[in-house]
């Protein structure tokens, strides 16, 4: 083998080593220590929203009234029923290093009602009250939710319905 040939092969080997080291660096960045221990991910977010919406649905099912005048009280009772669950969820997540904040969104609820004309609905502080066969009930609610930890942040604005 000639000297030139040895130089070519040596250059090839050095190029290969450089490539491998670059890949090793990229892998180290992608799989940083502690990354696997983080709780918040798209999967866990789905579970958080599921638990939250189950609590809201349960609160809604407990709020029924015969009087159209009681709509405001119905919305208030719904929030009072749901709030301890939201506090409990926040506490559960805080133990895992995740902050959780939910706020009812009145304008989004109003927008939902505008797009469902024909139904006797009203938004009271983000809670959608519907008159159904002479019964007032919590049809749904609109909320903004922020879930975040030190490396991920999810902001959502949603309307959930219970019937």
């Amino acid at each position: 083998m000639t000297d030139d040939g040895q130089m070519i092969l040596l250059s090839a080997f050095i190029a290969c080593l450089c490539l491998v080291s670059v890949v090793a660096c990229m892998s180290a960045v992608n799989y940083a220590p502690g990354a696997e221990n983080r709780y918040l991910s798209a999967d866990t977010l789905d579970n958080i929203l599921w638990a939250q919406d189950t609590a809201l649905s349960e609160a809604a099912l407990h709020q029924v009234s015969n009087s159209p005048e009681s709509r405001y009280q119905l919305a208030l009772s719904f929030k009072e029923y749901a709030n301890p669950s939201m506090d409990s969820l926040s506490h559960c997540l805080l133990k895992r290093g995740v902050s959780y904040l939910i706020e009812y969104n009145d304008s989004r609820a109003s927008g939902f009602i505008s797009s469902h004309k024909g139904n006797d609905m009203a938004s009271l502080g983000g809670v959608i009250i519907e008159s159904h066969r002479g019964i007032e009930r919590v049809y749904g609610c609109a909320y903004d939710v922020i879930v975040e930890d030190r490396s991920a942040s999810y902001h959502m604005s949603r309307v959930v319905t219970f019937y």
Partner: protein, 145 residues
């Protein structure tokens, strides 16, 4: 003249050899980054996610209760947990076992020592008699002996 030609041919072979080494390394690197390693632990992780989604969102009935319904109260857990466990068991492939831990009790078999384990924590809602709901810290463990 013949010597120079022989030298050129050798250079060509050496250059081809070098190119082959570089290209094979590139292929190896590309394959490694596009297809991450998947071992049995990853399989269990995907399986636990699928199972949790199915039992969370499936329609609820007395014979096949959903996760949310089963964890609504300690009394409901006593009534429905066996059926829920049976449904989870049916979703598992052969050789894979489950263990669910909740504040109301456990389901399934604890992982054996030395088994391949995936533990997925989850939160579930529970209502109480006085109407103040609470969230339960639970976990679903899948394991393979």
């Amino acid at each position: 003249m013949s010597g120079r030609c022989d030298g050129g041919a050798v250079h060509m072979i050496e250059a081809l050899l070098a190119a082959a080494i570089v290209i094979s390394t590139l292929v190896l690197v590309n394959t490694y980054t596009v297809m991450p390693e998947r071992d049995s632990g990853d399989d269990l992780e995907m399986l636990s996610l699928d199972i949790l989604n199915v039992i969370s969102y499936k329609d609820n009935s007395l014979e096949h209760p959903g996760l949310g319904f089963t964890l609504l109260s300690p009394e409901q857990w006593k009534k429905s947990s066996i059926a829920l466990g049976a449904d989870i068991g049916e979703m598992l492939p052969a050789g894979v076992y489950y263990y669910m831990a909740t504040p109301y009790g456990t389901l399934g078999m604890r992982p054996a020592d030395g088994s391949s384990v995936n533990s997925r924590p989850f939160i579930a809602y529970s209502s109480s008699e006085n109407g103040s709901g609470q969230m339960l810290d639970c976990k679903l463990v899948l394991w393979r002996a």
